[in-house]
Amino acid sequence: MSDEATAATGHEPDYLAQKGFRSWACTHDHKRIGVMYLIATHSFFLIGGILAMLLRLKLLTPGPALMSDHAYNVLFTLHGAMMIFLFIIPAIPSSLGNFFIPLLIGARDVAFPRLNLYSFWIFVVGIVITVASLLQPIDTGWTFYTPYSAQTASAVTALSCGMFLVGMSSILTGLNFIVTIHTMRAPGMTWYRMPLFIWGMYGTSVIQVLATPVIGITFVLLVAERLLGIGFFDPAKGGDPLLFQHFFWFYSHPVVYVMILPAMGIISEVIPVFARKPIFGYKAIAYSALAIGFIGFLVWGHHMFVSGMSTVASVIFSFLTFFVAVPTGIKIFNWIATLYRGSISLDSPMLYALAFIFLFIIGGLTGLFLGSLATDVHVTDTYFLVAHFHYTMMGGTIMGLFAGLHYWFPKITGRMLNEKWAKQAWLFIVVGFNVTFFPMFILGMQGMPRRFSQYPEKYQPLNILATVGSWILFAGIFIMFLNFVRSLRHGARAPDNPWQGLTLEWTVPSPPTVENFETIPTITDWPYGYGKKKRQAK
């Protein structure tokens, strides 16, 4: 395939031309590293998804049927840990970020290509250790709360080491991207001419570098407590279990913005292209990304309103939490305003982008109930919370990722996707997602706690509905991946610029050559100049 592509474009060989294990394992090419991350992270998406299907199957009945309570606890822990640490956090930054940051800013590679490769292999070693911990699978929940995680017989130590390495890889990648964005932009690409995906990736990288060390240290402390008996979190030895929660959420709250900012960046790219309109309020969207990143560091306590933290602290954290909603709201309004008087084509990337906005609005608005103190006390740690974060994480980040995958598939592979399949998959995913997760809001309002392997019978009808929804959702995801795999071979050959985009990646061949750009372009305008210029642009 790649040989023909070379002949067709007449340029130097594309980045996929070289074959063999070594050509991948030792590559410094950001595009190949991106593709390797793409495959690694999406494998865990599929495994995590299958675990979720088993969980939903178990919850079809309220009693002890199908699997033991312990097995259920292990499954929900692995589902959460894999999805969060091995999929959602690295999925967009490490795969699409790696592939497209240099292409979007007019660079030949990232600032430190060799470090980029090391980051990937550190990630792989982390995965191997994590998988090794499955010999004695952990049952702590993905939040690893002490004292339970310090006492349970499962392989918390091994998993912590794996997570430590995955985190290290994440820090190095973030650092690499920050330097790349600062120093490698093509001549003429000022900060305000950067595509918004780059702004999103910039915000994400800063959070990764600042927050990830905290979770790394927390894992070290947890291992020290388990192996050496040092009581950082053990009240009998003068420690405090709440300290662990503060450490954990100091990382794990900002990290939800690591997940969402790149997805928002993708949406900001896709909407103008398919609406043929300039993005509405460029600066507001760019600054919102930074504001979300900054305020995100100050709200971790909203996970702990019922933990025994003082009332004063709860009130302050609740107040700050509502401020994250403001920049998020601005982005939503600006995307919708971009659609106004556009010429919208509903191709699959656009459909996923619209699904992102639709689902993320629900996720965002239900966050208000969790940010408000009185209502949080009732619905926290219930299915309401489970529904809320699936709407933001899956309805948000993963829909953004899907939009990006459909948008950039032609550029990455040189092939077009089957549009009919893509739309069918989209329909299944959107319907299945809502049937699965919307009932959980009501379950939570009625008081069903999360992480219950057996539950009171009154909650069964809505659980059956959610389980049926999960089958529809699974069918959609299956069709989508089938389309990806099938199109690699049978897809129509992709032109350089199938969507008539104005960002730089569309000026190079599909798939790009090893060096990306024959000559580095000089930038004279922002990348959103769609539509008829009546007024002077910025």
Partner: protein, 316 residues
């Protein structure tokens, strides 16, 4: 507020209705923005849709509008402050000590609730309160973090080892209500449930009198003493006495039972087997169960141990 709602369940405490009011207030605001944003999203996506194969129509070059951007920054901000303030107001009400409240000590352990009243009575997995009488729960955990959650009260509070946390309750409805553990605490988490029974004051007083009389009656039989020890040691967290499967084997009719062990042997559960299973539970593990029970060598001794064994023998 009506006494119950299809969406939330019963409103059984003083604060239930107030929390629901905050919920509905947020729901109204969220509902408005939901309809506004989703409506515009769908309307624009359909109204400005391009037909298949059609070239893009001419679109206007709009890059922003400062007035509108300021409007949709300021108005939501003000509404957010209102939501925050209302939520805080009810939260503070919920967590403010009520003078003259009766105290109940709550101890959580994997996977059992123990409620201890001021006169020394205690009960496992059952809390009885009197209608309209404010109660202060003083709570702690013996092992990992748990969370006491009464959905019909809209109240929840974590129980943390090594410290006390509090919950103030004012029952406003008689009847039976569910208590769940809302913080994941291990294998038996989902079965760590208790019952809250609320009775009118006169009935409640009568119940307390009869309980006290039982307590005062003095000399307990070994079986009665064993039952009390069984409940106060947290055994009910994992072992049922009525045949329901839990984390550990049920102890209904355990005495004399043929027990299949994890190592393949089968033995008859006699007094010695029961004694050994309490002090060294890992030794003769029952087939199909995890070795997670702690040894009770240090806690249950001599007469106490004999009393518990006597109680277990009585479970027909």
């Amino acid at each position: 507020m009506p006494e119950s709602s299809a969406l939330f369940g019963a409103r059984a405490s003083l604060v239930s209705g107030q929390v629901d009011a905050v919920f509905l207030f947020i729901l109204a605001i969220a509902g408005f923005f939901f309809v506004l944003t989703q409506g515009l999203l769908i309307y624009f996506a359909l109204r400005y849709r391009r037909k298949k194969g059609e070239p893009p129509a001419e679109t206007p070059y709009i890059t922003g509008n400062q007035t509108m951007e300021v409007i949709w920054m300021v108005i939501p901000s003000l509404l957010l402050v209102a939501i925050f303030a209302y939520g805080m107001f009810v939260f503070i009400k919920m967590t403010t000590p009520i003078p003259g409240a009766t105290e109940v000590q709550v101890t959580a352990s994997q996977f059992q609730w123990t409620f201890k009243y001021q006169d020394g009575r205690s009960a496992a997995n059952e809390l009885r309160l009197a209608l309209d009488q404010p109660v202060k729960l003083i709570m702690t955990s013996r092992d990992v973090i748990h969370s006491l959650y009464i959905p019909d009260y809209r109240q929840k509070q974590d129980l943390v080892p090594g410290r006390y946390t509090y919950l103030w309750l004012v029952p406003k409805k008689t009847g039976t209500f569910d208590i769940y553990c809302a913080e994941y605490c291990g294998t038996g988490h989902s079965l760590m449930r208790a019952t809250l029974i609320v009775m009118p004051l006169p009935e409640y007083d009568k119940w307390v009198q009869s309980e006290r009389q039982k307590l005062k009656a003095g000399v307990q039989s070994p079986v009665e003493r064993g039952k009390a020890l069984f409940e106060s040691s947290g055994c009910l967290g994992c072992h049922s006495v009525d045949g329901t499967p839990k984390v550990g084997p049920t102890l209904k009719g355990v005495f004399g039972r043929q027990v299949q062990l994890a190592d393949g042997r089968t033995i008859t559960a006699d007094e010695e087997y029961l004694r050994e299973s309490i002090v060294e539970p890992g030794e003769d593990l029952v087939k199909g169960f995890q070795a997670i029970m702690p040894p009770y060598q240090a806690t249950l001794k001599d007469d106490d141990l004999a009393a518990v064994v006597a109680y277990l023998k009585s479970l027909k």
